[in-house]
């Protein structure tokens, strides 16, 4: 009996190995940003904004551009609500800083502004983990280069 069960268990193990290798050909694992991680990144950015007395919106999205975390400091201009989120989205989906996109547009390639959903304005940075983009942070409320200083403080948490 033990022999039979042993053989069955072994056959089962072989089958599950086979299934696992079949599945691994079709599925992949990837690192994803957690809410806890997003909160830590936002807290570091928030500390930088407070230190400078800058009222800003801080938005953090995942690699697909979906919102994970958002905060708007008291008395921040209303326009910054959408802009911070869109900067984060642009940085996540295009996997680069929005400053790079702004520079390209300023350099004459205005056609980039026709891309759907792109806000090529400084203040959005990708969030990298293990060489991969896991999301992005977008900041809006003060001058764009100041927005980026706040975003950079958040990015520093992952380094």
């Amino acid at each position: 009996m033990t022999g039979l069960y042993g053989a069955l268990a072994m056959a089962g193990a072989v089958i599950s190995l086979f299934v696992a290798s079949e599945a691994s050909a079709q599925l992949a694992d990837k690192k994803v940003l957690t809410l806890e991680g997003a909160k830590m990144i936002a807290a570091a950015a928030d500390a930088e904004a407070r230190k400078n007395n800058w009222n800003v919106v801080i938005a953090i999205v995942d690699d697909a551009g979906n919102l994970i975390y958002y905060q708007r400091a008291d008395d921040t201009q209303y326009a910054s609500n959408d802009i911070a989120i869109e900067k984060a989205r642009s940085a996540a989906k295009f996997r680069r800083s929005t400053k790079v996109m702004e520079d390209v547009v300023a350099g004459g390639r205005h056609v980039l502004m026709t891309f759907p959903g792109v806000v090529p304005v400084q203040g959005g940075l990708p969030l990298m983990a293990g060489g991969k983009v896991v999301g992005a942070i977008g900041v809006s409320g003060v001058a764009s280069h100041q927005d980026e200083i706040v975003a950079q403080a958040g990015v520093g948490v992952l380094k």
Binding site: V32, L35, I68, Y70, Q71, A73, Y78, N81
Partner: protein, 141 residues
Amino acid sequence: MPDDQGAELTTRRTVLTLEGARRISAAAEAEARRQGWNVCIAVVDASGILVHFVRRDDTQAASAEIAIGKARTAAMFRRPTRAMEESIAGGRTALMSFPAIPVTGGLPLVAGGTVIGGIGVSGVHSDQDEIVARAGAKLLE
């Protein structure tokens, strides 16, 4: 500030702070965690603009916009989204033409009898979403 006829041209009102929104959201998040519910929690001001937002790990992607929409609806119409859902279910289908998410899970945030914002939750069953929202809203009671 009165004009030359003595009429008041401006007035003051209570507004929600980020710190307040953070605490309301934290209370709601604690309830969601206690229940093991993956949800998005959105807090907006009286104009319906986002003040604070969290998405718990592994929450369905659709819930981000819906949570924000429920919060906006509760704040701007100054009533629980359940009330609108019930009106529609009761036959007033025309209400669906409003720019709103009239689905249970959004509550107004009330301070001193004035609506200062809204909280919206999405991710689980609407009744459960509302339980999470209630845990946040009651902080002001």
